[in-house]
Subunit: 235 residues, 6 copies
């Protein structure tokens, strides 16, 4: 099985980190290729960055489709351009935010999201409502730490993530944690051990979930909401 | 008051039609400028076209912001790129779909949408849910007529729109009709007279609504979900 | 354009204050007449006052209809008697609460309401649910200050309103504020400057919105939920 | 136990019919008094009639409170003035629409409402949403028969009610029927036998339910949404 | 009228306590029989205990049906096995949790639940959503006191229940309290006096409500969701 | 990876069929064991059968847990006893209904369910609401064919399933089909080819999904709603 992970952020360093996490998390029968949306914004920090990144990301998905890949993972917790990506793909597509939420609802009654900065919350809140999972989310928390500091693993960043994780469990009453930032992927196992609860990380969730869809022979519907785009006359 | 209407479709002919409708519908104290998202897809027929159009549309909005405009209308019933547009604007921004739905809920208990083709329905359905107005929508109906035939005003197109309007009122129990396609703007008055109920058309609704916001001194919040995008380091 | 503002409270002093605020907020092409529901309760502080005020308010609306007015604003944040008012009117009708919420959702991802006393909250909460906008409301807060103290502009009243505004932004995560009391109208500009976010005031929102509906040629549907009442046989 | 049934309609004939139905349906330990909202509209057929009736109905409830009654039933399927009635009462208050819906959800997975005329549907639909019970309602159907014809028991009226009852069970998939009109009370037993399913009639449901509340020692809360109205200064 | 209360817990001591509370709360025209689900788990503290108890509880309900009882109350706040119980019964069936919530919404705008231990909250939260009443619940609070200590009436238990009741009223803004544990039945009157608001206790609510249904001649629908189970061929 | 499929129905023939389907659908790195809930009802056709089956099914899950299995699939479309199963398991647990719905929402905008008999619909409808996925379900349809006829593959059964599949796509506007009955598993590929859309079958979806969870290192949370049951004192 050949799976494609696309980083909608243009940062090559971030794409390398995601590629490492993806290799570690790939299903045993899967070969994973990771690409980045070079040409778009270096990092996605809100709806405008998201919008500017999507055309480049769709190119990566179309290239991977032509190369015959069996599934795509959008490696941004905003699930950037998810509907458009499904329209250009025949293989199944999942976003890492979406994947993490769905997995969390299957192993916990209620989960909380711990992400990097407060600016990230509105998009995540909107996505949860759109997926029908708002009532299962006990809290949306930002550690107040920029993504770069999380990537660098500074002690302050780790302390802030621990603080919000504890508050999500004790104050919000969550039963599991979703790490709402691709850069937190390496922390999942440690936090799970420390707090004694499932900690869901999107890249592993996304690869496993899209592998499950592909393994079950499921491909994106080409009817209705995810129909292929019509070819336009030349402008 | 200077208002800006942006057509996210690249078609110059469509932009001219929208400009005519916008001039006819402009509030008395407003000067309206209409632009088109040249560079993007000729027409928006689903999430991929929408995604490809947004970067070009955002340029038009940024230019109009710099020119000091007091409000923006996105002249596509999909409300293409609405959140991103709000992030780049200080002036208020409304989509014509959103404007039509809000106006309809203020003059009717339940409305129905009559649009061009069935492919348009999934995006509209999703938007209604996102705006909290699904329960006020008695039906979503497609006339099965391509946008170009609607623009051309063929007898078959008009007959199909009439048929779905009647069904929306008699079968779905709607009290008002929302015309879900910019090309139907010129039909609103005729249909309203014929069926004896309000028929809401998005361009007039959008211009009136954004004019109302600007007139009340309201500008887009730069906190939270619509904060301005951060400047990125050079790539 | 001739717009009619009706104060469902019988207090003449309150009606005068509303008339002043309405004159200041009227659209440029609108002549505004303000009336009061003399005969009913002096002030509306809950469902019983509201119920006792509606018959008198409907008389004002019917008189203004006969005088040929183009739109009505119900100047009580409870949106007292809104459905019944729409049944007796052909011109569009908006409540100041409803107008403020709709405007807030067009310029901010999430808003909070700051009102006078806690007794006001249940009706506002119910209205938000009815309008489909509960999920966009980050918080409902009462300053704990009687309406008369707000009207008098006492330092204690202002301090309490500031305190709740700050809490709505910082604790609830709101991006805009809705002032949930007609007597707070004069504070909107000051608070908006001080806190750097939109502050929506209902009288301006209501006049602008009903002016927008009238300007777009939209009138209240006489089908379904807002049909005109049937004439009764003499008792 | 002394229970009070108030007919918000002013029609004396209708009040007599309700009194008969109430006597037949009263709990064994209850003495029932039925009053009518003389002074208001003869019949309630929409929001305006409802609004005009409430002040007179509240007088009846206040009189019955002073006379020491133990519970009130509002005998109009619109649940006219329910919140205001709860504010003036210490004894529990239920509307016959509300009572019928709650009872139906306790004995059936999904119910449908069969009422008199289509004009009645918008208010009922709104009430179901407000009570949180929309998802339990499989259908809202109007027999297209005026209330007076139902009262007169014409063969056409009965045939139309049977037709809609059958459609509610077979097409909508309802498991029980709610008769959405006080005048249908006498048909409940016959229809239940004929169709082999529960048929809930509001007057019996309302009296039984308010009797249950009173029997359990429960009275209307005087905190929050149903607090007693404040006394006003003389005008 | 013959009513049957079944304790899904196997504990004979608990069944005796429930029988005493049921006798005290029975409607005047009702003879009450209380049974216990001997054979199942001693106490129900989560979904597994609930699942193990249901087969035994269904036996009690079938026996009471054969004995001709007119209504059943499931005396566990989880409403254990409610749908299955309705399938085996012709007489109406209510759970004490469900009964308490429905009664609370008829006498208060918003209620809060005060229960024993935090482990009980997830099931109650799920039930409230299923009944459509989540929006009416201002808070779900656990006193952190085991059921046995509540039964024993220790001073610490009473202090904790008082503390959470006060917080529900003052912090959550509830207008009425639902006691979410059968063992708290004897505290309702005292707390209601002390806090000046309705305090709803499930055994009284359940008996009154099922008595109301039976009194109104309503029986469980045998169509759709509550149809009788089909007889199986011998295994 | 060792996965356990439990058939909550006691029928050995049905368990064999499920075992065959499970073997065909197992992930490549998984060894699958299928067990049946011998001791319970032969087939689950409603809430009572479901309730009687759960104690036996929980035994199978506990045995498989002790044997060290990595994931459990509940092979009944009702997702019988899902919450209780999660409480007794450390490994992840998914129901085949739940798995099919989640997979369908990842590859299609809207899906419809085609199941065997109308009696099955109420439980499925309730589950969809509980999972937050009701708005994504375009229709719930019963072919009106008993499970045994589906298993036997009679021409009438196949014709009825085709008829409802076509109606789900053309009338309801679904983009994908969920086959709501374990016995339909072998039809998925044929129907998908014939109708040109994804057809999701629960056993494949369930095995793939639980394999994905296990592969991502996720186990059922032992906090909150799925905490392990407390050990009881001997009775």
């Amino acid at each position: 099985m050949r799976l494609h992970v696309v980083n909608p952020n243009a940062s090559a360093a971030m794409t390398e980190g995601i590629a490492r996490a993806a290799s570690a998390a790939a299903p045993p029968d899967a070969a994973v290729t990771t690409t980045g949306a070079a040409g778009g914004p270096l990092s996605i920090e809100g709806p405008v960055d998201g919008a500017m990144a999507v055309p480049w990301m769709l190119q990566r998905i179309e290239e991977a489709e032509r190369a015959g890949c069996d599934g795509h993972v959008i490696a941004c917790f905003d699930d950037t351009g998810l509907d458009a990506a499904r329209c250009v793909a025949r293989a199944p597509v999942v976003g890492i935010g979406e994947a993490a939420y769905h997995c969390a609802t299957l192993i916990a009654d209620r989960f909380a999201v711990v992400t990097s900065v407060p600016e990230a919350l509105p998009v995540l809140r909107g996505n949860l409502a759109r997926y029908g999972l708002s009532a299962r989310c006990a809290g949306l928390r930002a550690a107040g730490v920029p993504v770069l500091d999380i990537d660098a693993g500074t002690p302050e960043a780790l302390a802030a993530i621990r603080r919000e994780t504890r508050a999500a469990l004790e104050t919000d009453g969550a039963d599991a944690i979703v790490l709402g930032c691709a850069g937190m992927a390496t922390l999942a196992a440690t936090l799970s051990d420390e707090f004694g609860c499932p900690v869901v990380e999107g890249i592993a969730a996304g690869l496993s979930l899209v592998g499950a869809l592909a393994g079950a022979g499921l491909r994106t519907s080409k009817r209705g909401g995810y129909a292929a785009p019509r070819t336009k006359a030349a402008q």
